[in-house]
């Protein structure tokens, strides 16, 4: 493995933390930075937010999110599934549009009702 550099996002200081070939961590100014980098190396996770299509002319897209974070490398596979969804009926904020996406135990939920824009 090559040496890698991370920007710590735990606090506004934003330490540039280096990890070398034998996993030595340097550049962090506190313990939290070390924990952050270890997690980023082993199991980086992200919340994915995007939109899905609808059949409504006045709001052709409605926003969605993963209801928990998913592994970073599943973001594009998840996008592919989400982009196949078309919403045809009125739905409320928080309703599930894909459950247990890619066997992560995480659902894709609406972050806006599809009726919000029609009034």
């Amino acid at each position: 493995m090559m040496s890698k550099e991370f920007i710590c996002i735990v606090c506004p200081r934003g330490c540039h933390i280096k990890v070398d070939e034998i996993n030595n961590i340097s550049g962090n100014q506190c313990k939290r930075g070390e924990a952050y980098v270890k997690n980023e190396m082993q199991n980086p996770k992200r919340v994915l937010t995007t939109t899905v299509r609808t059949t409504f002319l006045n709001n052709p897209r409605v926003s969605v999110k993963t209801d928990d974070s998913i592994p970073k490398d599943l973001i594009f596979p998840a996008m592919e599934l989400i982009n196949k969804v078309i919403i045809t009926k009125k739905m409320e904020i928080g309703e599930v549009v894909i459950s247990n996406i890619l066997n992560t135990g995480v659902n894709i939920v609406l972050t806006k009702g599809t009726s919000n824009n029609s009034n």
Binding site: I7, I9, P12, T50, T51, P60, N116, N117
Partner: protein
């Protein structure tokens, strides 16, 4: 009929201001030009909103939803698809001309007005960008609206100028939707965006960030469409350095080069302007130099966190209610001035006619300071000081102190001292 309060704009700011005023039993009317409430939050589908107020990481639409529900519960009057185009004051009353497709021009009269009309994006004209004028050069917020609201991807090969948060968020968003984002150029030696966005929007997608770089050439093809841009490194005086040019063949250049408060509705009223905030000057009650005219949210000062917009606008709504209840005494004001290492400060005045327990002062630092002391002086006397670590220009700072400590005849100055 004469309204108590008319609120201009139904985004985060207008919602919070009108909810606060209605809870004080005032007759409130909110005017919104779009077809729904929520303002810019509707297109900000990413998460990270509400950490401060609700200890939750809401997306923009979810954050708006909380306020829209409260707004609807209060039964506040509102007009959608309606634009306020003129505001004047006549015999102590405000007159607002509104227009809508359905009803045409109408006039409303009101005792007070709260301006919560948000801000607009700077365009290429404002930074005098050289080169051709093809299609395909568009502000990041416009591209965000096309994509997240209308479902239209504005380009396939994209470059972004400016590393503000909207630019970074759009870099990731365009990538997710299948566009190729070739890079982000920032004229300053540091990014204006949050570290979190640098990591999760650029590094996650291997998008390079070119610091101390700017666009020095724009080329179009025979159809007047964007074909390529050239970026160059700049020196300390932001002048392009020769032989540092890099060319990118792209179809879209997104601009994320700053936001300016939208106060065009105030053109016909003579008000004290602030060249630093590019808005109007206010006192601690969010009241302009014209009694009964209030302003809050991004039309007062460009915020980085919506939570601060909501809090500020709630206070502005309460101020309008106080004004209507004749709680304002004989006016006597002093100035609040920005001192060393400070770009701007709000409020710009303290008016002793308004009774407040605590004074809330916002300001922005002019540079990154690792260890700073915020100091407030009245003439030579130090009346407030507080240590703060990691003060950066991209994050608005807030201090609050007791009003009792102030003399009523001397201006005060806020400064940031490096330790």
């Amino acid at each position: 009929m004469i309204k108590d309060i008319v609120v201009i704009g139904g985004g985060a700011s207008g919602l919070a201001a009108s909810i606060a005023a209605k809870k004080r039993n005032k007759d409130v009317l909110l005017v919104e030009r779009e077809n729904s409430l929520g303002g810019i939050l509707n297109q900000c589908i990413h998460n990270g909103f509400g950490l401060d107020m609700f200890k939750e990481e809401y997306t923009g639409p979810e954050y708006a939803h909380r306020f829209i529900e409260d707004f609807n519960c209060q039964n506040i009057d509102y007009l959608l698809n309606t634009t306020a185009i003129k505001l004047v004051k006549n015999d102590g009353l405000y007159e607002i001309i509104i227009t809508s497709k359905e009803k045409g021009l109408e006039k409303i009269q009101t005792k007070t007005v709260i301006i919560s009309s948000g801000c607009y994006e700077r365009t290429r004209g404002q930074i005098m960008m050289p080169g051709d004028r093809p299609q395909g050069v568009i502000t990041a917020g416009s591209a965000q609206r096309y994509l997240n609201i209308n479902g239209l991807l504005v380009g396939k090969r994209v470059f972004i100028l400016g590393s503000g948060d909207i630019g970074l968020i759009m870099a990731r968003r365009m990538c997710l939707e299948g566009a190729e984002v070739l890079g982000v150029a920032e004229i300053m030696p540091y990014s204006n965006g949050l570290n979190r966005n640098i990591v999760q929007c650029l590094n996650d997608f291997d998008i390079p960030l070119y610091l101390s770089h700017t666009v020095t050439k724009i080329e179009s093809d025979e159809f007047k469409c964007l074909k390529a841009i050239t970026i160059s490194e700049v020196d300390e005086r932001f002048q392009p350095i020769k032989n540092t040019e890099m060319c990118f063949e792209i179809d879209t250049l997104l601009l994320s080069i700053g936001l300016i408060p939208d106060i065009t509705l105030l053109d016909e009223i003579e008000l004290e302007k602030d060249s630093l905030t590019k808005s109007i000057k206010i006192n601690q009650a969010y009241e302009s130099s014209e009694p009964g005219l209030f302003i809050c949210g991004n039309s007062l000062q460009v915020h980085d966190l919506v939570d601060n917009v909501s809090k500020e606008s709630n206070r502005a709504g309460n101020s309008a209610a106080d004004y209507l209840e004749n709680k304002v005494n004989k006016r006597q004001r002093i100035k609040v001035l920005p001192g060393k290492n400070i770009v701007y400060v709000t409020p710009q005045y303290i008016d002793f006619g308004w009774i407040f327990k605590d004074l809330i002062i916002n300001f922005r630092a002019s540079k990154k300071i690792e260890k700073a002391v915020i100091k407030v002086y009245q003439k030579e006397e130090l009346i407030y000081q507080k240590r703060r670590t990691f003060v950066v220009p991209s994050e608005m700072e807030t201090i609050s102190f007791s009003y009792q400590e102030l003399k009523k005849d001397e201006d005060i100055t806020v400064e940031l001292e490096e330790v």
